[in-house]
């Protein structure tokens, strides 16, 4: 297959492509799915962002 005689090689080639295909299918299938209320971030997330910003400032 694909000019490659060893199945152990073309299988790796094929699986790499198929795994990309799986990523695309998964992404499209769950494109809008989220368990978070997007417009209203929690206090915890806001606090997290503030501390993160401080750490980056420090660096």
């Amino acid at each position: 297959m694909l000019g490659i005689p060893d199945p152990a090689i073309w299988l790796g080639y094929l699986l790499a492509i198929l795994s990309v295909a799986a990523c695309i299918v998964y992404s499209v299938r769950y494109w809008n799915k989220s368990d978070d209320p997007l417009p209203d971030p929690s206090e915890k997330e806001k606090n997290w962002e503030k501390v993160e910003e401080k750490i980056n400032e420090m660096l």
């Binding site: 000019g3 060893d6 790796g12 990309v20 992404s27 978070d36 971030p41 420090m58």
Partner: protein, 537 residues
């Protein structure tokens, strides 16, 4: 040369401007979080991908494919399936939630807060600070090898130049507004690799024909004397897997494919990326672009690395490693010899981009590992944290440069970059992965079980690196000094163990000890803490 300098300056200007834009944007937005939410998942995925993929993957592992063949495509498969799909879906979503619930900002902090253990945070911080420079050195060596080969500048000078550019980038604010700059770098990398793929297949007459020519090379009478040593080690051609159980098979399967393929799940600089994502929806969307990006990076580097043998043989009568003068020189020599000059400039920029996006996050991780995780949180010291963090980062940069300098003294036929990278990835998998997975999925596991698992994985890994796995033990010299041989199992009935990568022993050891600990020790973390950890999960 002049074209390269101009292109490089334009590139630096764009990078600075984007960094400034990202920084200004986050500063001026009233609600940073809302502003952050507007970041497109494509930008996030490119940023993650650019951090994941470095010169190590393109130059080091691409060169390994030039020597060992297309078997490395199994690593591409793991890079996508494990490094993107499982990482984002199984680990990413819970990491994001738990990171916010526990106010964790580094990977050691996530583990430390989850298990309410200062020891875990400090121990993880120390491992990162001490061993990540090996990985950073591998990334530096990749860029340096290219500069040396492409511009004909001595390795030492190329290294200093490359390190100075990266340090300048970090100093200019490479750690701020990083999403945009990383994404820009990701786009350059993506464009360069697409060109490289089309160029290589097109020049060799198409996909099937190119592979057939590569396969036929193994049988060529002129090639046989050049691969004699490789064949003795188990090599059976660039389009075949090495013979089962031979030294090359063990190296390819356990070190290159499994070490990096699994180790990616516990990479501290990648784990923190999940916490910066604003919702699971973004992670779902990023899986698409992440998968495509990774196959275009490692997939192309490995295919072109292997195919470079046909190019070199047709031109010089030599196989790639012989013509290039070393495993890590294969991709740079290929670019210099066979692709148009203008592309050499683009590829140079792509490599700088690949290195900078990875190195800046590594330096960030190493600085915080020592300053925040070890000094401030684990030791409980107050004050001087900024000084400690910045000094640690500087020390990490210096240590990485020194290691990259020393790496050039090693045997050039070795996969130096790939081995260095795999060493760190393997050590991370053994030390952190069972703890990380337990943190996210096992509510009532005890801190003791996790600590025991981490220590077991790390200890077995270090022991194998220094005393058993000959590839590393021989270079590190300690085994030779103490026992007078390059591996303690050499010339014994267990000699085969010297070929097997440490991850094959250390990771199961960590899993086993963590599992035993789960059954024999009682979880003492309070129910309210556990509920807080898993809030919303």
């Amino acid at each position: 040369m002049l074209g390269s300098i101009i292109a490089f300056l334009v590139y630096l200007f764009i990078l600075t401007y984007l960094g400034y834009l990202g920084y200004k944007h986050t500063k001026n937005t009233a609600d940073y979080l809302v502003g952050g939410r507007q970041i497109h998942p494509l930008i996030m995925a490119l940023s993650y991908g650019a951090t994941f993929i470095s010169t190590s993957a393109i130059i080091g592992f691409g060169g390994a494919a030039g020597t060992l063949g297309m078997g490395l495509l199994w690593l591409t498969f793991l890079n996508i399936f494990v490094g993107i799909f499982i990482a984002f879906v199984i680990f990413g979503k819970r990491t994001r939630k738990m990171g916010h619930n526990l106010d964790a900002h580094t990977f050691p902090e996530l583990l430390g807060n989850r298990f309410q253990s200062k020891f875990i945070q400090g121990f993880a911080g120390i491992i990162i600070f001490l061993f990540m420079p090996i990985y950073a050195a591998a990334v530096l060596k990749g860029g340096t090898d290219f500069i040396q080969s492409h511009f004909g500048i001595a390795y030492e000078i190329s290294l200093l130049f490359f390190a100075a550019v990266v340090a300048l980038y970090v100093w200019m604010g490479g750690l701020k507004g990083v999403m945009y700059t990383d994404a820009f770098q990701g786009i350059i990398m993506f464009g360069a690799m697409i060109f490289l793929l089309i160029f290589a297949y097109n020049k060799l007459g198409g996909v099937g024909t190119a592979h057939e020519q590569l396969g036929a090379l193994y049988q060529n009478a002129d090639v046989q004397p050049q691969i004699e040593k490789l064949v003795k080690g188990g090599f059976r051609g660039w389009t075949s897997m090495p013979a089962l159980g031979t030294p090359i098979w063990w190296s390819l399967v356990t070190t290159i494919v499994m070490g990096v393929g699994i180790g990616v799940l516990a990479q501290p600089q990648l784990v923190v990326r999940f916490m910066t994502v604003k919702s699971n929806r973004e992670l779902n969307r990023a899986v698409l672009s992440g998968g495509i990006f990774i196959i275009m990076m490692t997939g192309v580097a490995f295919v072109v690395g292997a195919l470079s043998n046909v190019f070199f043989f047709n031109e010089t009568g030599k196989i790639a490693i012989a013509a290039a003068g070393g495993n890590d020189k294969i991709i740079p020599a290929f670019i210099k010899t066979f692709v148009p000059g203008w592309f050499g400039i683009i590829f140079f920029l792509a490599l700088i981009a690949a290195a900078m996006s990875t190195l800046s996050s590594q330096f960030h991780a190493m600085g915080t590992a020592m300053g925040r995780d070890f000094y401030q949180k684990s030791l409980g010291k107050k004050g001087n944290t900024i000084l400690i963090t910045r000094t640690s980062m500087l020390l990490a940069i210096i240590l990485s440069v020194v290691l990259a300098f020393l790496a050039n003294k090693l045997d050039a036929s070795m996969q130096i970059i790939a081995t260095g990278t795999a060493l760190f990835f393997g050590l991370c998998a053994a030390s952190f992965l069972p703890a990380y997975l337990s943190a996210l999925y096992v509510r009532n596991i005890s801190t003791k079980a996790v600590v025991a698992g981490m220590i077991a994985g790390f200890s077995v890994g270090i022991f194998c690196i220094f005393f058993v796995h000959e590839k590393e033990a021989a270079s590190l010299q300690l085994c030779n000094l103490l026992f007078g041989k390059t591996s303690i199992v050499k010339d014994t009935g267990l000699a085969k163990l010297a070929l097997i990568d440490p991850i094959i022993f250390s990771f199961p050891a960590s899993v086993l000890v963590t599992t035993i600990g789960y059954f024999v020790s009682k979880n003492k973390n309070s129910e309210s803490h556990i509920n807080n950890c898993f809030n919303g999960i």
